[in-house]
């Protein structure tokens, strides 16, 4: 069980690092968003799953209060999963509409797209 938790933590830390490294490595906003959103969400899922596994392991050994830990961590995971892709989409849309063009783009279907005036 301890080894299982170590493996979960290792995968999580690895992918989180990859996500932050992608921020430095990629050339423009959109590709950076790719790296940052996907990798940090995936890594955070694994680190939080490690916490959940630890909590349920504690419940199995009869330690008081670990069930609360696991359930609250799961709720944090749900909040993260719901909010992260939506935030990335909002940033991408804001960036594109404010005039940041994707670098080295092969095709840009967004050219000539008419913004409708929303009220």
């Amino acid at each position: 069980m301890v080894i299982f938790i170590y493996v979960l933590l290792g995968i999580g830390v690895l992918f989180n690092g990859l996500g932050s490294f992608a921020l430095l490595r990629f050339p423009d906003v959109f590709t950076r968003l790719h790296g940052a959103t996907k990798c940090t969400t995936f890594g955070s899922i694994f680190t939080i799953l490690a916490t959940v596994a630890y909590g349920f392991w504690g419940v199995a050994r009869g330690i008081q209060g670990d069930l609360t830990l696991a359930i609250h961590a799961l709720l944090a995971l749900i909040a993260l999963l719901l909010t992260n892709p939506t935030g990335a989409h909002a940033i991408a849309r804001g960036a594109r509409r404010s005039g940041v063009l994707p670098k080295r783009a092969v095709v840009d279907a967004y050219e000539g797209y008419k913004f409708e005036e929303e009220e």
Partner: protein, 169 residues
């Protein structure tokens, strides 16, 4: 009415999860149950229409079969695609081989719930990022490795539109 009740029910469930293990009545104490019910009712009355637009969306939200399908989708194809996405991004971070572009697909979804589900799925799966969506539910997608400037929906996001239609339409 259905709107307020659904929103209140969601608020109540979250409150009960947060206050689990607090007392004697099952997992909760009596005070927590009363406070939770009152707060959920208030939240439902004030923020009655946050979860969807029409009554039809709320009927979908109350359907347990759709929730079961959603859970199957979440741990099955979605998680697998997310794993592949991360290996893909890892490969591109290390080698730096990218060929980006913004493309347009029209998956032909009708309801807003299905469109938001598909948009979030696209953002977290291999090499794609939703940039914008217009009135006819056409998606503008930033693709990190463009193989075809005018692709079909299947080429970009696989079987996801079919899942979104089955879950939320």
């Amino acid at each position: 009415m259905l709107r307020s009740l659904t929103t209140g029910l969601g608020a109540l469930v979250i409150y009960l999860i947060l206050t689990m293990e607090s007392g004697s009545l099952g997992l909760w104490s009596l005070e927590e149950l009363i406070v939770g019910a009152v707060l959920a009712l208030g939240v439902g009355l004030i923020a009655g229409r946050v979860l969807g637009k029409g009554e039809a969306d709320y009927k979908k939200l109350l359907n347990p079969r759709r929730w079961a399908l959603f859970l199957v989708y979440l741990v099955g194809p979605f998680f697998f695609a997310m794993f592949r996405a991360n290996l893909d991004v890892a490969y591109r971070v290390i080698t730096g081989r990218i060929k980006p572009g913004i493309i347009k697909i029209s998956p032909g979804l009708k309801s807003d719930l299905a469109a938001s589900l598909l948009g979030n799925s696209i953002t977290l799966t291999p090499g794609t990022l939703t940039v914008d969506i217009d009135k006819e539910n056409n998606f503008y997608i930033h693709w990190i490795n463009v193989r075809n400037p005018q692709p079909s929906p299947e080429e970009v996001c696989g079987r996801f539109p079919r899942w979104a239609r089955r879950i939320a339409e």
